[in-house]
């Protein structure tokens, strides 16, 4: 019962945090420096790991698809399989998971530390709303950068699949044929749906991580516990949201 209470309380406070952040959106031009800093942290610093993972996910997809399809003579569909899988599912989910592990954990650690060492209280007494200064710029940066990361993940993943398809003996499909298959079965809607999913996941992850950070009480041990809770909650949220958003977009 107590756990259920905590879950409901966490859900409620996260939704409230979202509305309060939206309320501070008009002050975004004044927070432009912080917004750019967060874009750098969320986008630029996450880019290398997104690119590496996307490349290998695309490669493995092509490899597995080629291995399974060679017996059916359906190798020419590898491009469309990799393309659709990356755009509709793996790209957005992978970006969101990386965001939770790399950026979300850092956000929770920073805000939890500020809370525990009374920096948040200091902001309140200075009549500087912590949500305006610490949450809203992060959310806005996530809204802008997560779809960009998802697009890059898609492109690199497709490219990884193309390389594997070309240089693996039992597949041996040239890139023009691979990309032709990719284009034939894929519509703009598939990519757009993936980007909408990435947007929802990104917002969810940043909100959850900010909320857990801002509600931390105690000392250094609780900061660590909050980081763990934020990452685990984010991962669960991504997969739960994935189902519902996918269903809604069908």
């Amino acid at each position: 019962m107590r756990q259920l209470n905590n879950i409901l309380e966490g859900f409620g406070s996260t939704i409230l945090l979202l509305f309060r952040s939206i309320g501070y959106l008009p002050s975004l031009p004044r927070q432009f420096g912080r917004f750019v800093e967060q874009c750098y942290l969320i986008g630029y610093t996450t880019l290398p790991i997104v690119a590496i993972l996307s490349f290998f996910i695309g490669s493995v997809l092509a490899l597995q698809a080629g291995y399974s399809m060679q017996n059916f003579g359906a190798k020419q569909f590898i491009g469309s399989l990799v393309g659709l899988s990356m755009a509709r599912e793996l790209g957005p989910v992978m970006v969101a998971i990386l965001l939770a592990g790399r950026v979300g954990s850092a956000i929770t650690a920073e805000l939890a530390s500020m809370k525990v060492y009374q920096e948040i209280d200091a902001l309140v007494t200075m009549n500087i709303p912590p949500v305006r200064m610490l949450v809203m710029p992060r959310l806005a940066a996530a809204v802008v950068m997560v779809p960009v990361l998802a697009i890059i993940a898609n492109l690199v993943g497709w490219f990884g699949g193309a390389i594997v398809s070309k240089y693996t003996n039992f597949i041996s499909i040239d890139p023009p044929a691979y990309f032709a298959a990719l284009r034939r079965f894929m519509e703009f809607k598939d990519v757009a749906n993936g980007l909408i999913k990435a947007e929802v996941f990104g917002l969810g992850v940043v909100l959850v991580c900010c909320n857990i950070g801002l509600n931390t009480r105690g000392g250094p041990r609780e900061i660590g516990a909050s980081v763990t809770r934020a990452v685990v909650t984010s991962l669960i949220l991504i997969l739960v949201l994935d189902y519902f958003v996918t269903k809604a977009l069908m």
Binding site: R30, Y117, E119, A122, T125, M126, I128
Partner: protein, 269 residues
């Protein structure tokens, strides 16, 4: 202590704004089943230095948090300048500055940026005037050379002074200090006490200090309140503390070290 006029002279612009009074009426606060504050009532006059003393865990810091609106009363009311202290609007109308026990400086930015944060966020002046204000506040507290340092590079005494300087930049009408002399050597403790009294004398800001420090209370307070077990057991001028009537207050202010019958042994029985 001389009676101060009811105005806060802005240390930076020489303008004047009224110092504010604080009223606490029948304040009670519980955390779960534990009642920290029990029916507390007193008032702090505009421009006064009020020192709140009491043993550890008696609820002093909790009371201070009620005044700045960081805690909500379980029962009773706290007003600052006749406005509800718990309401967000109060902080928009009354400039209150709290000097936290551990400083609560923003560790990821420099001392200069710590001080400049308030005027920047509230768009008070351009960067040149902010720089002037910040350097003036640092100069008042002899911290000019620490401007570009980070909080982690400062000693305990310097952190306290930076926290006071940061509060000063806010041009407060009400200044609150939470244990400003704790964890400091006696000389630095005396220095901080002198700073608090000087700021009040020069700028006539209403000042509430939470402290264990008997010397601070006796030397700079206009009035003293003593909290024990969540209740206000003494309220009066510091002169009355030289020979307190209440034996508990007397023991708190002038504890005798009794090696034959130590207190911790009495607690055990």
């Amino acid at each position: 202590m001389a009676t101060a006029p009811d105005v806060t002279r802005n240390p930076f612009t020489q303008t004047e704004s009224p110092a504010v009074g604080v009223t606490i009426e029948n304040l009670s606060k519980s955390f779960g089943t534990f009642e920290v504050l029990k029916d507390i009532s007193f008032a702090v006059k505009p421009g006064e230095i009020f020192v709140l003393m009491g043993p550890s865990g008696s609820g002093k810091s909790v009371l201070l948090k009620h005044i700045v609106g960081l805690e909500m009363p379980t029962a009773g009311k706290v007003t600052v300048d006749r406005r509800d202290a718990a309401a967000e609007e109060t902080r928009e109308h009354v400039r209150m500055a709290l000097v936290f026990q551990a400083g609560a400086l923003f560790n990821s930015i420099s001392v200069y940026d710590n001080l400049a944060l308030y005027p920047r966020e509230h768009r008070i002046g351009n960067e040149a005037s902010i720089r002037e204000k910040v350097m003036h506040a640092l100069q008042i507290l002899s911290l000019e050379n620490a401007a570009q340092k980070f909080p982690s590079e400062l000693s305990g005494g310097m952190k306290k002074r930076v926290a006071i300087a940061r509060a000063l930049v806010m041009e407060p009408q009400l200044m609150l200090y939470d244990e400003p002399t704790s964890e400091l050597d006696p000389v630095m403790g005396a220095t901080i006490s002198e700073i608090i009294a000087t700021l009040k004398d020069q700028y006539h800001v209403t000042t509430i200090v939470v402290s264990h420090d008997r010397d601070l209370a006796l030397n700079i307070a206009d009035r003293v309140g003593i909290l024990m077990g969540g209740r206000l057991v003494f309220l009066g001028p510091p002169s009355e503390l030289h020979e307190p009537k209440d034996p508990k207050v007397a023991d708190f202010l002038h504890p005798k070290i009794d090696l034959q019958n130590p207190r911790f042994k009495q607690l055990e029985t």
